[in-house]
């Protein structure tokens, strides 16, 4: 599903973010990406949803080489990938329902399907009764659940989360993790960059540790491995 071969990434400002990454992630896997700040986790994630292209090496998503993917076809790759961020990235003037529907409107889904799918994912993240609320009227955990709902509403094959619990207290973080578990159980590939020792250690999933742009550890039922 996701294949990287000897991937290097050097930004135009001279910073080397990745220095030879080779990795294979299969369909349906749940993977934590850990490592110190600035180690290259975010770049690793951006390569997957083709926000960045590798400087050298190969990144293949579903057998598509992202370096060879034409600019105009990038949107179609993105439709197979849902992305969740630390800061939620919700539109403040739209209701919960509208924020989620937005993701389907802009890929020109039919109004009937939109209604059906939005209600389904609202049910999944347990926010059906808050569909008409604005993001500002929700707690942080609820806002993150809305952003997860938006990421999965078009049934992507891969969900990427870049420190999704970074802004949340521990209890709320577990709420979010339960949602991710459920998404993963439905066969979606989950990749999550995190700094949360508690979450990684308790969940016992595959852990990829990145330091200074290379993979220093890749364990199938790993631990967080850092002190904080």
């Amino acid at each position: 599903m996701i294949v990287m071969k000897d991937v290097h990434k050097k930004y135009p400002n001279g910073v080397t973010a990745l220095n030879g990454i080779t990795v294979n992630i299969d369909k349906g896997e749940f993977v934590y990406v850990v490592g110190p700040s600035g180690a290259g986790k975010s770049t690793f994630i951006k390569l997957i949803y083709r926000e960045e292209k590798p400087t050298t090496g190969i990144v293949k998503i579903n057998n598509i080489n992202t370096s060879e993917l034409k600019e105009k076809n990038v949107p179609y790759l993105r439709r197979k990938i849902g992305v969740v961020f630390q800061d939620f990235k919700l539109l403040p003037k739209l209701s919960v329902y509208e924020n989620i529907a937005f993701a389907l409107e802009v890929i020109e889904e039919s109004p009937r399907n939109i209604r059906k799918r939005v209600m389904e994912v609202l049910d999944l993240v347990d926010l059906k009764n808050k569909a008409r609320f604005l993001p500002s009227e929700l707690s942080g955990g609820e806002q993150q659940r809305v952003s997860i709902a938006r990421a999965i509403v078009n049934k992507p094959e891969i969900v990427i989360a870049d420190e999704p619990t970074g802004n949340l207290d521990p209890e709320t973080s577990w709420e979010i993790m339960r949602v991710f578990e459920e998404i993963s159980e439905r066969g979606t590939t989950m990749i999550m960059a995190t700094h949360s020792k508690e979450i990684v250690n308790k969940m016992k999933k595959r852990v990829i540790a990145i330091e200074d742009g290379i993979i220093v550890r890749d364990e199938s039922r790993g631990d967080y491995g850092y002190e904080n």
Binding site: E71, P75, Y76, L77, R78, R79, V106, E108, S110
Partner: protein
């Protein structure tokens, strides 16, 4: 590329929302389109009417060469031949003094009857009636022929022709320069307004890209915003044109009696110009949005 109706509706809805988002910049860009199009409308109306009048005059612009009475038949014929040889001459028609008298009598109507007395002793000259290939060359041809032998007199609508052509030419140059300047100002203002929209919506655009909206989909609302700014800017000029021209034609000019001074009829002229103004407005708007979308929307 077929677009769903629901998608098109969405683009229009977003485009209209954008218009209200930018407040004063929207007012400024619509205002500049309005000023530009008012001038375009006035200019087009004047130029096309001048052309129309010039056409009327031109159709009447002939050089009339009155031949000296002392010239014999051969000399008259030779003169005709040499005029025909001039490059810029289109046609040369001989009109004998009897023809001339007949024309005169006809043109005077009732009063002309008395002139028929002269039929036995015609005081008029033989004449050549000359038409230029290009009406603008009329003067040159006339002055040229004046130097020939056996010429009694060369006449043409000298003053009218000269002034009309000169004015027309000047008006055209001034008008075009002015309008090009204004069109660019309007495009600049519109593209700036849309730049503001793009910046105001950058988060939204980022999310759209993230969830896989195509670049075309992201751009559309901005094209529509630009187009609407241009079209709204064309409303006032069109209203002014229709009302103003109606009064000009129906209330004012109808009472003015100057030869050749005849305006194009309100229908269809005013409507045709309105359509042109509308189209120019829309084009200015689309152009402005294309410019800022290309520059500021890296999608």
């Amino acid at each position: 590329m077929a677009m769903k109706i629901s998608t098109l509706k969405r683009h229009f809805r977003e485009g209209i929302k954008n218009i209200f988002r930018n407040g004063w910049m929207t007012v400024a860009s619509i205002g500049s389109v309005t000023v530009t199009l008012l001038l375009v409308a006035a200019f087009l109306t004047i130029i096309l009417n001048l052309n129309h009048m010039a056409q009327n005059v031109e159709d009447d612009v002939i050089v009339k060469v009155l031949i000296d009475v002392t010239a014999d038949d051969n000399e008259v014929k030779e003169l005709g031949e040499s005029i025909k040889q001039l490059d810029k001459v289109d046609s040369v028609v001989f009109s004998s003094k009897d023809d001339e008298l007949e024309n005169l009598v006809d043109s005077m109507g009732e009063e002309g009857q008395s002139w028929e007395l002269f039929e036995q002793d015609n005081p008029l000259n033989h004449a050549y009636i000359i038409k230029a290939k290009e009406p603008a060359d009329t003067v040159e041809i006339a002055e040229n022929i004046r130097t020939y032998d056996h010429i009694h007199k060369v006449t043409y609508g000298k003053e009218v022709v000269n002034q009309l052509f000169e004015f027309n030419e000047n008006a055209r140059i001034v008008g075009i320069v002015l309008i090009i300047g204004l069109v660019f100002t309007a495009i600049f203002l519109i593209s700036n307004t849309i730049k503001l929209t793009i910046m105001a919506r950058s988060t939204e655009i980022g999310i759209m890209k993230l969830v896989g909206a195509t670049n075309g989909f992201i751009r559309w609302p901005f094209f529509i915003e630009g187009m609407l700014l241009g079209i709204i800017g064309s409303i006032l000029p069109i209203a002014f044109l229709l009302i103003g021209y109606y009064y000009l034609v129906e209330k004012i000019v109808i009472n003015v009696q100057i030869p050749f001074f005849e305006l194009l009829p309100f229908y269809p002229f005013a409507w045709q110009i309105s359509l042109v103004i509308f189209a120019i407005g829309a084009l200015i708007g689309i152009w402005g949005s294309v410019m800022s979308v290309r520059k500021f929307l890296r999608v």
